[in-house]
Amino acid sequence: MGLARKDLLRMQELTADEIRLILDTAESMKQVAGRDIKKVPALRGKTLINLFYEASTRTRTSFEIAGKWLSADVINVSTSSSSVAKGESLKDIGLTLQAMHPDIVVLRHPASGAAEFLAKQLAASVINAGDGAHEHPSQALLDLFTIREKKGRLEGLKAAIVGDIAHSRVARSNIHGMRKVGMEVRVAGPRTMLPCFIDRLGVEVFTDLERAIADVDIIMMLRLQLERQQAGLFPSLREYSRLFGLTLPRLKGAKSDVLIMHPGPINRGVEIAPEVADGPYSLILNQVENGVAVRMALLYLLAGGGQAA
């Protein structure tokens, strides 16, 4: 039993059944993390290459740990230490890696569509670990896993995704994922950061944070890229956090059991107040923890298919 696809490139192409299969598999994977000896032989003899063109702490570490706990051989390639720095094209990097017969390549890249491009070059499975502003499917899957773990279900829940929707691959993947499993989705942010026709993805659009979060079950805050100020998308950090920062007083208008999520890394005091990030409703560290289990499930379902964990 596995996923009937070579690659995992976007949530948009997954079915609700595939999402459920991944989340169910991640539940059994999560048990491994609780063991004394965190190792199962499921991917012994398989090779996983982490190819990261952008700095990343949690995603790369998470995939690396996931691979190692499944007994795969894990190689990390980062742009500063490789021939990427010498200007080798993504196509040639792909052909070069292919010649070493990896089983899975995990790609993080600043250009939208890079994972799809690489997947066409490689016989290996490609997992998109974030391509430009396009998608970041493993993040959306770990978010869904975390929500389901806390709420016991997904269908019928209401989520608000808040911040720079236009430049966010996390937002896009979550919109697709949440809609597929029957959640209601709202997006909120300054008009300058809401992409055109976003409502056509089946979401409600808000520019007023308080109204957006009034009766939702989940609030997902996005990281504000500080360079967007120079691009003229918002006037100052001060005004951004006044209008779109999630603070305790603002939370008073939300449901009493609302859950707070953030893909990280957070800008404390900008999009999220420290007392909210560290507060009782915050799932930020659960998201990180579950990231390993979900990525184990993905690696297993794409390259394993052999021995169960």
């Binding site: 948009q12 094209s89 993504l90 196509k91 890249h109 600043p110 250009a111 939208s112 569509g113 890079a114 799809e116 491009f117 391509d131 430009g132 502003a133 396009h134 998608e135 430049h167 691959r169 896009r172 992409p195 055109c196 026709f197 976003i198 056509r200 993805l201 691009a231």
Partner: protein
């Protein structure tokens, strides 16, 4: 060499002719146009393929070759007023020889090449190099377009007077806009002294930003930076005002947005001296072609929405859009086989333009055949004041013979162009070039 083109349906939009007549050409000119059929004077083979060899057309009139055009359309040689031949500088992408052969294969007998070569065509020496090379190696006529500004930098005017004297038929900084409105105003005034049209690539670079596709549902879904329609339309509006101010002749290149069509329509009604062109990819495709991060659907201006495409069709029909031009922009496979953000803008079009016009515009009933041909012949000739684009006794024997019914499949790897970057690879099209005749010589034949 005396060639008789017999029995074809001759369509000449300039004179309004649309009838079956025979054309006799010799020494680069059309020497006689005569009624076809019994008693016409020319002896015509009854059926079948073109017959070679000498035969007697009428007593005392020796013909070296008879081309049987029965069932085919014969029209003035097509003129593509917007191509990039890449020579000098990027001969790995295209050369004057290959680019003009691609044009001939597509039924074009003349092309206007844009100045964004390396070096830029902003001086007499580059213009002369292009003309000399075209004379030696070119399959079709080449009319260079000179730069508006030195180095296309948008800072100082190029020597437009000398460019005009050495053979440039228009000026343009195509590939990039003249962002400085004052410089654009002066360019129009200055080019106006030579009655040279100024061809404007309308784009506000601030609005385009890092955009790589049309700003719309596809850019939102794919997470690609969008280029809003207003980026083009704002510049169209500016240039229309400047044309009004200066009285100069303005030609808007590759119109892609509904807003631009509307602005140009209004300006024409006011009497502004403006003309414009649309490309086959903008009337045949929409932003949807980008899905899958298809870099062969990446060009500037970008493929826009279906409502924009409909506006282009309406503009072609009501005459707002005067010309169909390809913006043939060759790029190597390795240039296009990159991340979407990184791959260069541009697609090739010489070898598909006629068939796309016939399949998309004419076969659908959107545009009558004669009007479609006008936009590929007499209209560009009028705008550029070329002594071309018409069929008449004494006129240059630049002719295109095409089969409006021939069905074929686009195969980029069979193109005469050096490059393969077409979004139409694999498309089934109807209408194909049968022969291209330049100055009385058959330069390409199916």
């Amino acid at each position: 060499m005396r060639i008789l083109i017999a029995g074809g349906r001759v369509i000449d939009p300039a004179s309004g002719v649309d009838e079956v007549v025979d054309l006799l050409i010799e020494d680069g000119r059309i020497i006689r146009i005569q009624k076809n059929g019994p008693g016409s004077g020319f002896q015509v083979p009854s059926k079948g393929k073109a017959e070679r060899g000498k035969r007697r057309a009428e007593p005392g009139l020796q013909v070296d070759r008879v081309m049987d055009a029965a069932g085919l359309v014969v029209c003035p040689g097509l003129i593509d007023m917007h191509v990039h031949l890449r020579q000098p500088g990027r001969e790995d992408k295209e050369t004057i020889a290959t680019g003009t052969l691609a044009a001939a294969r597509g039924g074009f007998t003349a092309v206007c090449c844009m100045p964004n070569t390396d070096p830029v065509n902003d001086t007499r020496s580059v213009t002369e190099f292009i003309l000399d090379t075209a004379k030696r190696e070119g399959a079709v006529h080449v009319y260079p377009v000179g730069a508006i500004s030195k180095g296309l930098r948008g800072e100082e005017l190029a020597e437009i007077g000398e460019l005009f004297e050495s053979g440039c038929v228009a000026v343009s900084d195509d590939g990039r806009p003249v962002m400085n409105a004052e410089l654009m105003r002066r360019a129009m005034e200055y080019a106006g002294m030579f009655d040279l049209p100024v061809i404007s690539h309308c784009e506000d670079l601030h609005l385009s930003g890092k955009g790589v596709v049309h700003e719309g549902i596809v850019s939102t879904e794919l997470g690609l930076c969008g280029i809003p329609s207003a980026s083009e339309a704002a510049m169209v509006a500016r240039d229309l005002l400047l044309a009004e101010l200066t009285g100069a002749r303005l030609h808007i290149a590759h119109v892609s947005a509904a807003e631009s069509v509307r602005l140009i329509r209004e300006a024409k009604a006011r009497g502004v001296r403006v003309s414009c062109e649309a490309t086959p990819h903008h009337f045949a495709l929409t932003e949807e072609a980008v899905r899958g991060f298809n870099t062969n659907a990446k060009m500037n201006p970008p493929l826009r929405s279906e409502s924009d495409r409909q506006a282009i069709l309406a503009g072609l029909c009501d005459g707002t859009i005067d010309v169909i031009a390809t913006d043939h922009a060759p790029h190597t496979i390795q240039d296009k086989e990159q991340e979407f953000d990184v791959a260069p803008f541009g697609v090739i079009g010489s070898e598909t333009a006629l068939a796309l016009t016939l399949s998309t515009l004419v076969a659908s009933g959107a545009l009558p055949l004669k009007q479609a041909i006008a936009k590929l012949t007499s209209e560009p000739a009028r705008i550029l004041k070329l002594p071309k684009g018409r069929i008449a006794e004494g006129a240059d024997a630049d002719l295109t013979i095409f089969d409006p019914d021939r069905e074929w499949t686009v195969d980029a790897f069979g193109f005469a162009s050096k490059s393969r970057n077409t979004p139409f690879h694999g498309w089934e099209l109807k209408g194909g070039t049968v022969a291209t005749i330049v100055a009385g010589k058959v330069v390409w034949e199916a």
